[in-house]
């Protein structure tokens, strides 16, 4: 205790000065921050000709050293540690947000030049130029967009009924049974299945019953549904648990059987939340690459039949164009941009729907 009393303020207006401690001015962080920035600019680009990129790092470093040191001098060790941690935590957040902004901005910058009408309406089939008789490489990714949408749709059609029925079982029927507990754990474990293992599973399953080289779009749907189901179960479960018990009881009291109560009362009440969950699940799998790479393969032309022949998808298209060489990288980035837009739109729509429906289910 004596150590704390030793660095109290010398302000004499308060006779027993124990509560008042010398503290840094309110804007101490700002002051040191500006100072650090000035030093970084002066000592970096201006005087030594270092890169401007170094400025935020040097300034950040100076701030995180100088402010706690100042605090240590004036406020004591404890306050200095507190300030140091506050700075570190803030840095962690700032640094964590850098990749997000960087990835998105980089994708837009690299991908935008590739996007034009032909890119969105043609596939990659090589054509013969009627005038010069040269082989023209395909210009578009329509086949990949269609493939991605079809395969994801297939996965959704498999996952949603299974996922929601499982959620219904867990919430309405299984309650606290042994079976329900086992399923809950398995769903958790399923969340952790590596996506490539899901793809291998589809391959193993279909080649067991088909020919060895089988690669069809539906295999991709099966692989993706394995990744989607746990997310759908989780959100469905969560949302249905939010439906108040008295709503159910009101329905039972009217003589409505349980299964109709579930379909007509519980599911509609939780609908917004369930929809959000499904869309988030879709946005999670729509960008999956590895399972499609092994289970669906890649082609250059449009194939709209999920049950016959290989299909192209955006993620796999990106990888294959990257592998084919540097001059095709622009196509890869264009496809990446479309994929990112697709994912972000789904994600945002899901959140907005969730926001709109949230107050209703919350009550």
């Amino acid at each position: 205790m004596s150590t704390d009393l030793s660095d109290v303020a010398t302000d004499t207006t308060f006779p027993p000065p124990s509560l008042v401690r010398a503290r840094l001015p309110r804007q101490a962080t700002l002051i040191v921050g500006v100072l650090a920035l000035a030093l970084a600019v002066l000592g970096g680009p201006l005087l030594t000709g270092a890169s401007w990129y170094s400025v935020p790092f040097v300034a950040g470093l100076l701030l995180v050293v100088l402010l706690p040191l100042w605090s240590l001098q004036v406020e004591g060790r404890r306050a200095a540690v507190d300030r140091l941690v506050t700075l570190l935590v803030t840095y962690a957040v700032t640094l964590a947000l850098v990749p997000l902004v960087w990835v998105l901005a980089y994708t837009v910058i690299q991908g935008l030049p590739a996007i034009n009408w032909a890119f969105l309406t043609k596939d990659q089939t090589t054509t013969l130029d009627p005038v010069t008789f040269k082989q023209m490489p395909g210009a578009g990714v329509l086949h990949a967009i269609v493939g991605t949408l079809l395969i994801t749709l297939g996965a959704t059609i498999i996952s949603v009924p299974i996922g929601l029925l499982t959620a219904i079982y867990l919430v309405e029927y299984g309650a606290k049974s042994r079976m329900a507990r086992i399923i809950t754990v398995l769903v958790d474990v399923m969340t952790g299945i590596p996506s490539i293992v899901a793809g291998l599973f589809a391959v193993a399953l279909f080649t067991q019953f088909g020919s060895v080289g089988t690669r069809i779009g539906f295999m991709g749907s099966v692989a993706l549904s394995l990744l989607m189901i746990p997310t759908v179960v989780r959100s469905g479960e969560e949302m249905m648990r939010l439906v108040p018990a008295d709503l159910r009881e009101a329905s039972y009291a009217l003589g409505v059987p349980k299964w109709r109560t579930i379909l007509k009362v519980v599911v509609p009440t939780a609908f917004g939340g369930i929809l959000t969950g499904v869309m988030l699940a879709v946005s999670r799998v729509i960008g999956e690459t590895a399972p499609l790479l092994v289970a669906v393969g890649t082609v250059d032309y449009m194939n709209t039949n999920l049950f016959s022949g290989r299909m192209q998808t955006l993620p796999v298209f990106i990888v294959s164009k990257y592998k084919q060489g540097a001059d095709l990288l622009e196509l890869a980035w264009g496809a990446a941009l479309i994929l990112v837009i697709l994912v972000m739109v789904l994600n945002l729509t899901a959140r907005i729907i969730g926001k709109i429906f949230a107050p209703k289910t919350g009550r």
């Binding site: 935590v89 997000l100 029927y173 080289g213 999670r284 590895a290």
Partner: protein
């Protein structure tokens, strides 16, 4: 709302037992869906085992640079674990920091926005992370890799000749760290937020600063949650494929501690994605077998994580 529209005829039906059958059918359907999840998980194991069985003892030429399955899989597992563990070493401090910021430092509106942005990071497709890591982050980190090699080269991790492209284990670990950050952050955030107010106030009332309060009340309460979040992130990192495939310049299964050279160990997942598209069916069988190894390994890690969570839930009940 639907209640009022239920026709009286329906209601009287229930007395005759007509709807009981409906209930039984629906119950059966729901149960079947739940059971199908068990079947699916068992199916993953069984089909991988059936199709991959031959891969455990295939022709020796398929296990290059080794000659049998065990060292081959061990080499791949080493690469997988090395990259994933490094990723977690980088990601966990950030995840804890971000989660603390969200629960104990930021005002509510800011916290909501940042939580959303961090979640958005999880939505970016891994192939995009891969391309970005390759083309943008890799070159940007190259000077750092050189610096580490120059000044800390005496540490085995940073020894060797620095890769000219920057496509190293170091880079792969950083990209993976970014990718697992959201899931680990989400779990840390949840447990930090559940710290009893009572304990936080107990610390504050003793005259603790914010950090001291966190150290006394929040962190002890959240220890198992942080462990669980770390292991779930680890599970994700172990199985990540595309980002590693694109970012890492891998030269097959191998065991090396050098993080900055151009001679890097492949991971199970990236090795599968790299070689599965070829026409070599025998090699595909071997890859299926390694897939089974990956599945079992991640299964164990995830299971351990859940076990930690369940055990700690019991403790606090």
């Amino acid at each position: 709302m639907n209640l009022t529209t239920t026709e009286p005829a329906e209601v009287s039906d229930t007395l005759s037992g007509g709807s009981q059958r409906g209930d039984r059918v629906f119950h059966g359907l729901a149960f079947a869906a739940g059971a199908s999840i068990m079947v699916a998980l068992a199916g993953v194991f069984i089909f991988l085992a059936i199709r991959g069985a031959a891969g455990f003892s295939a022709a020796t030429g398929l296990y290059q640079p080794y000659t049998s399955f065990v060292p081959y899989a061990a080499g791949l597992l080493f690469g997988t674990a090395l990259v994933a563990v490094l990723a977690m070493i980088i990601a966990v401090p950030f995840a804890v920091g971000v989660a603390l910021f969200l629960t104990h430092y930021a005002p509510r509106p800011l916290s909501t926005v940042i939580a959303y942005l961090i979640d958005l990071l999880a939505a970016v497709p891994s192939v995009v992370f891969g391309l970005w890591g390759l083309k943008a982050l890799g070159p940007a980190l190259l000077p750092i890799q050189r610096w580490l090699n120059e000044h800390l080269g005496f540490i085995p991790f940073f020894a060797g000749e620095v890769s000219a492209t920057g496509r190293t284990v170091f880079l792969a670990a950083i990209v993976l760290a970014i990718m697992v950050l959201p899931i680990t952050t989400a779990i840390c955030r949840e447990v930090f937020g559940q710290t009893p107010r009572l304990h936080e106030e107990a610390a504050l009332a003793l005259g603790a600063t914010r950090w001291e309060m966190i150290r006394y009340a929040v962190l002890p309460h959240s220890r198992s949650g942080i462990i669980a979040g770390t292991m779930l992130g680890l599970g994700r990192a172990l199985g990540e494929t595309m980002a590693v495939l694109l970012v890492l310049n891998a030269s097959g299964p191998k065991i090396t501690w050098h993080l900055l050279t151009s001679d890097n160990p492949a991971t199970i997942a990236s090795n599968i994605a790299q070689n599965f598209q070829g026409e070599n069916i025998d090699l595909q069988v071997v890859l299926l077998a390694t897939g089974l190894v990956l599945f079992v390994f991640t299964f164990l890690v995830n299971f351990a994580a859940r076990w930690v969570v369940i055990r700690s839930e019991r403790k606090f009940q």
